[in-house]
Symmetry: C2
Subunit: 349 residues, 2 copies
């Protein structure tokens, strides 16, 4: 389309108006500050987690699946060392298995309330779509099984370099379809944190596309619901969140590796852009220092605007996902207790 | 008690341990930054409010009730000019009256759903216990009456220099007692924002002390629940919140004037310190840039830990109380819509 005289006139008018009226152009200068560690209503163990210096690996900017996987494998070797003690402490069994070809861990508490026996939770782990392969991705599932007393299927979805978008989502949906063979959808919940929170939302969007039934409830924890760096706390909590640290850090790089050229604003990568009408009851969890606080509250608002029963939990002082960093802390018990109570209220209807 | 040798030994040991182990001593350095105005999922009108420069009066540090009142009167004269148009637009009537000697405005929507006819909401306005005298304190009550279609009694409580702590709370409780003469407590709700959010919580604590029945529900908006400057977002959102701006600003000075030497950590001034067992269902509202985000989420966590049905609404990008700055914005409709729906669900049981 060629410019005509009207467009030129409007163009001339638009320049001064945009300069004056577009609020996005105005910047608020915030001076440097030194933040003390908050202590009120926070356990000593969580205070120590909040007091940690910035994640030293925050600016590892992997360019390939192989690079990301090398880091992931080293980290996973450390993570799995802590799992036997966690299983013992929480009285939970974990067994590697497959569901229609998808690798899973089946995680079962030693004892379960009768009302939980016909329920199945499907867990999708976090780690920016590249971290926590194999058993290292099951820690949150173990906490949920142990603290919430539910059977959990933890999906060990394919990650780069084994596979790229939408492999993680495909594997999670395959697991859901397999669970549906023996379980009523109203007795199934999805949950996960960070990339797992995004996958939880993406599973529901994908289930809608495929005409699959809705699960009974979902619990996306601090979801990577917008990976286009859109959201106010990407700015306000930059270098305040000691886990993710920056919107230009490892998690952004990892997501670009996983997306492999796919449009990052696609609702199956940035689920805040999806249509949330008809979503099941949803409980969201985040913290006041979380870089993804905005990613979380935007989903909450969007769900509520769509008429969905949705609850929001915000922990004082916590950065990204810290409510599941240490299974022995009261905040961890509280976070999973809230989710378990929400599932107890909404599953089975 | 005199120190003995054991205490001295422990004292010597305590010094290096405290230096190493006390997380509150560690500071996180956050560099200066320039924040863009967030736009995603935010109406243009709210973007303009978020884009405003820092409140130019943020560091007015009144020392006396007279000083604060002079400012309040000037501000009130401006505020009341907008009220007739708001009443007309929202189809609401407002009438000055008294209830057992307490000044109130009775605010009634032209039409009401049948289920709301036997319900009464008691409103306590904000303004750091010194601002918004007379009709200027009714704007939020008018929005609630108009957007929620409930009858609202707005309490024009005494403020400095007319009276000091606990006069505001006493007046609000007198109004509650008067309402109870004709209304079942389960049909009564309390609500308010900022100091009004704190007063909402303080009214419930005081009702417990006095053995009065609990109201059916409450809606404290971004409550001044801790006026001892405790709470993480007093730091993280300093000079990010363009309304309150700083924990050392006008609102702190005003509260000290109102408290007139009373202990600021008393639960009737810092209600986060109160015992919240037995509280009625509660919905809390705040924003990601709110200096009182922590004051709000700490109350939410404390209520949930006490087993209370409590919901949290966090608006993207908003600073303190901005969800009630402009009655024509979709975010305002949404905030009062959430509260009205919550009251609809919980009142009358």
């Amino acid at each position: 389309m060629k410019p005509n005289w009207l467009m030129l006139v409007l163009g001339v008018l638009a320049v001064p108006m945009a300069g004056r009226a577009d609020p996005a152009r105005q910047l608020l200068d915030v001076p440097a500050k030194a933040l003390p560690v908050p202590t009120a209503d926070i356990s000593p163990g969580m205070q120590a987690i909040i007091a940690r210096p910035l994640n030293p690996d925050w600016n590892k900017l992997w360019k390939t699946g192989e690079e990301a996987r090398a880091y992931a494998d080293t980290q996973a070797a450390q993570t799995v060392k802590g799992i036997p003690a966690m299983l013992e402490r929480l009285h939970v069994k974990s067994e590697a298995s497959t569901l229609d070809g998808v690798r899973v861990h089946v995680i079962t508490p030693e004892t379960m309330p009768d009302t939980n026996r016909d329920k199945v939770l499907i867990h999708v782990h976090g780690g920016c779509y590249v971290l926590f392969p194999g058993e290292s991705g099951t820690t949150e599932a173990v906490m949920m099984a142990g603290l919430g007393r539910y059977k959990v299927i933890a999906v060990d979805y394919r990650m780069p370099p084994e596979a790229y978008f939408p492999a993680a989502l495909d594997d999670a949906i395959t697991a859901y379809k397999a669970v549906l063979k023996n379980t009523s959808p109203s007795n199934v919940a999805f949950f996960g944190t960070s990339a797992g929170g995004a996958l939880t939302l993406e599973m529901v969007l994908r289930a809608k596309q495929l005409g699959l039934p809705m699960p009974g409830a979902i619990a996306p924890g601090t979801p990577m619901s917008d990976v286009t760096k859109t959201g106010d706390t990407f700015h306000t909590n930059e270098q305040v969140d000691n886990v993710l640290v920056s919107r230009d850090g490892f998690c952004d790089a990892a997501t670009i590796v996983y997306a492999k050229g796919h449009d990052l604003s696609d609702a199956l990568l940035s689920p805040v852009n999806g249509d949330m009408h008809g979503f099941p009851p949803t409980i969201l969890t985040t913290g006041t220092r979380d870089l993804l606080l905005s990613n979380t509250v935007r989903v909450h608002r969007k769900l509520r605007r769509a008429g969905v029963a949705a609850e929001l939990v915000v922990f004082e002082g916590q950065s990204h996902a810290q409510y599941q960093f240490d299974n022995t802390l009261p905040e961890t018990e509280e976070a999973f207790g809230e989710i378990a109570a929400f599932f107890g209220e909404h599953l089975g209807h």
